[in-house]
């Protein structure tokens, strides 16, 4: 694969995020000889992943005054002389206002243009754009709902069960399943309240609930010159309450023909909307084999290492190079999708107690540096690290590659078994149960229940 000279446009890159993704981005910065500068909150200022690194404290622990405070983040990037900013995922990663603010102050935002983000961030224009680009979408309200009465009407037309979703939502928040007309009002009110609290936007839309489906997504990469490639698909159907737990590639539930068709359609749609950077198009595959577009995430995804393990392409590097104005240095034909890769998200949660959060001090942390070139561990955790109670629970990701699915599963199980973590509860026991279960190994499950694990 042809590689051009390292990016020389950027010297200092601001990381507007924390924890695992912040450490992940810094790794690529080191490789490209770019200095990463971490914008952190009071709660994270002494975290081990910041040791020997440059950092600036944005504000107190509360995200609204630190990681989510647009002006503070941009100010911090400017005053630390950063010419580029990586938002990671979550927080401000898909906030078009933030992206514009960066650009207005001379800081290159790593992500698609603000206008494209604006379109994708609100779900209904995104669906309309995808339908226009030739993708099949999930039936439902044609745009944002005006009120409960309209929600009832649309639900009757679409047919129950339906899903009420937050226009600015994500991560399973602001979502309610409604099975009969009498429940619409309560679901509408509670989804709206949650959406207002989480996203400061109470607007809802509605779509048909497709139960028992598989979550399939396509990793895409586009430069500023209209070149778009895919890095294959991922199957993220092991979920609990819409939160992904395990992701893998390829998605063996797709036939070769279905896979080719979906990948090609995703590339076409990405080009049609003028997308730039790394992005992910999510599809729902129903029991009848129908693939419908759900949404496009305009950012790096938590599960991106799955695609990196199969292709050997560093997605963060590609993001930085694209932001610097470089054309993609490979074409679709150069991308070799090898073997099978699986990722487990390890969260600070107790899986045998309803996945209740488990913040606290990690007293013992061993075995995470697994000695296997086909196993990758992404984490910011060290012995003695305190998982703060203010943020999400992701503490580590373990990704394994194998010639085939079984080989990848075996390797991943072995790696997970070697991790010793004392002081907090983690989801490792659940992952081991899933990886060893018949339902998972035989690929017979869907998004409704975690295979091999009873809640």
């Amino acid at each position: 694969m042809l590689r051009c000279a390292p990016v020389n446009r950027f010297r200092r890159l601001f990381i507007a995020n924390r924890g695992e993704v912040a450490a992940r981005i810094a790794k690529t910065c080191d490789k490209l000889d770019i200095s990463p500068i971490f914008g952190v909150s009071e709660a994270d200022r002494n975290a081990p992943y910041l040791r020997d690194r440059e950092s600036v404290v944005l504000g107190p622990s509360r995200s609204s005054e630190s990681y989510l405070a647009r002006e503070r983040v941009v100010q911090a990037a400017v005053q630390t002389q950063c010419s580029v900013l990586h938002p990671g995922w979550g927080f401000l990663a898909e906030d078009p206002l933030f992206a514009s603010l960066c650009e207005a102050h001379g800081v290159t935002f790593i992500g698609p243009p603000a206008a494209v983000m604006q379109k994708l961030g609100r779900k209904t224009p995104a669906k309309a754009a995808m339908a226009e680009a030739g993708l099949k979408v999930i039936p439902g309200s044609n745009g944002v709902l005006r009120n409960v009465a309209q929600a009832r009407d649309v639900a009757r037309t679409t047919g129950f069960p339906v899903l009420l979703k937050a226009e600015s939502g994500g991560g399973g928040r602001g979502m309610r399943i409604v099975r009969k007309v009498g429940d619409v009002k309560d679901a509408y009110d509670s989804a709206q309240a949650e959406s207002l609290a989480c996203f400061a936007d109470g607007r809802l839309y509605l779509e048909k609930l497709i139960e028992g489906g598989r979550h399939i997504e396509i990793q895409l990469l586009a430069d500023k010159y209209g070149h778009v490639v895919h890095l294959g698909e991922r199957d993220c159907s092991v979920q609990r309450k819409h939160q992904k737990l395990i992701e893998e590639s390829p998605a063996l539930v797709l036939s070769d023909a279905e896979r080719e068709q979906t990948l090609a359609a995703a590339v076409r749609a990405t080009r049609a909307i003028g997308y730039v950077g790394a992005g992910t198009m999510e599809f729902l595959l129903d029991a009848g084999g129908e693939r419908r577009f759900m949404e496009m995430n305009a950012r790096l995804q938590v599960e991106h290492p799955v695609s990196e393990m199969r292709t050997g392409i560093d997605l963060v590097e590609a993001q930085i190079r694209v932001a610097a104005g470089e054309p993609l240095w490979f074409s679709q034909e150069d991308i070799d999708l090898r073997g099978h890769a699986i990722e487990c998200r390890i969260n600070a949660e107790d899986p045998s107690n309803g996945f209740s959060p488990s913040p606290g001090v990690i007293e013992r942390w061993e075995g995470a540096a697994v000695d296997d070139t086909h196993v990758r561990v992404d984490t910011h955790v060290e012995p003695g690290y305190e998982v703060p109670p203010h943020y999400d629970s992701l503490i580590c990701k373990v990704i394994a590659w194998g010639e085939d699915r079984d080989a990848a599963c075996d390797r991943l199980s072995k790696a997970l078994q070697s991790i010793r973590c004392d002081g907090i509860s983690t989801t490792i026991p659940m992952h081991l149960a899933v990886l060893g279960s018949k339902a998972f190994r035989e690929n017979r499950y869907d998004t409704r229940a975690v295979p091999g694990w009873e809640d």
Partner: protein
């Protein structure tokens, strides 16, 4: 033009001085110099966060001399959240004037120690230290019982004067910390001990 305002958070790092901490990342534009006296409610600078200026005010209970200013003499100082912008010391007020005290007594022998002039009352030498006096204490001639800030100058309120008994017990401290008092307002309610 300032469009926002922050009351600074004080961090007591030792008994004699408090640090006033940056409320956000940004550029600190100081409005006071080292050596100046500052007090609660006073604007001591602004912070510029992406062109939005917010005034920074001294929190309640803090008063004294600025002994250190971040960035030395610079007029714009990039700071992060929690940086100590100013150190304010009350221990260095050796040169404060002592005000002659005044007293009024009623027929029951209850005494009132009153403010000799208008100003802001402080019961303690610095926010982190114990009050000069408390209810139940016995005061004697020459003892400092509080501070009165008058026109940015701190004055010791000294229990001293011919009209006062040699010793008295404090029954009540009348104003709250940082209250504005006017001349003649009661500061302490006392009961004489030496006339027994």
């Amino acid at each position: 033009m300032s469009v926002g305002a922050h009351v600074l958070r004080a961090h007591p790092d030792d008994g004699e001085s408090s640090d006033l901490l940056a409320p956000s990342v940004g550029v600190f534009i100081p409005a006071v110099a080292e050596g100046e006296l500052v007090s609660a409610g006073q604007v001591v600078g602004t912070i510029d966060v992406l062109g939005v200026l917010s005034e920074l005010t001294v929190p309640k209970g803090v008063a004294g001399r600025v002994t250190r200013r971040l960035g030395g003499g610079r007029s714009r100082v990039p700071v992060q959240y929690g940086d100590a912008l100013l150190a304010v010391s009350t221990a260095s007020m050796g040169d404060v004037a002592s005000l002659a005290s005044a007293v009024s007594a009623d027929s029951q022998g209850a005494l009132s120690f009153v403010a000799p002039m208008s100003g802001r009352f402080y019961s303690r030498p610095s926010p982190t230290e114990a009050p000069f006096v408390a209810v139940g204490d016995t005061v004697q001639q020459g003892q400092t019982v509080g501070l009165l800030e008058v026109m940015k100058t701190f004055n010791r309120l000294v229990y001293q004067g011919d009209a006062l008994p040699e010793q008295a017990t404090i029954e009540r401290v009348v104003p709250n910390e940082g209250d504005d008092v006017v001349r003649g307002d009661a500061i302490l309610a006392l009961r004489s001990l030496s006339e027994k």
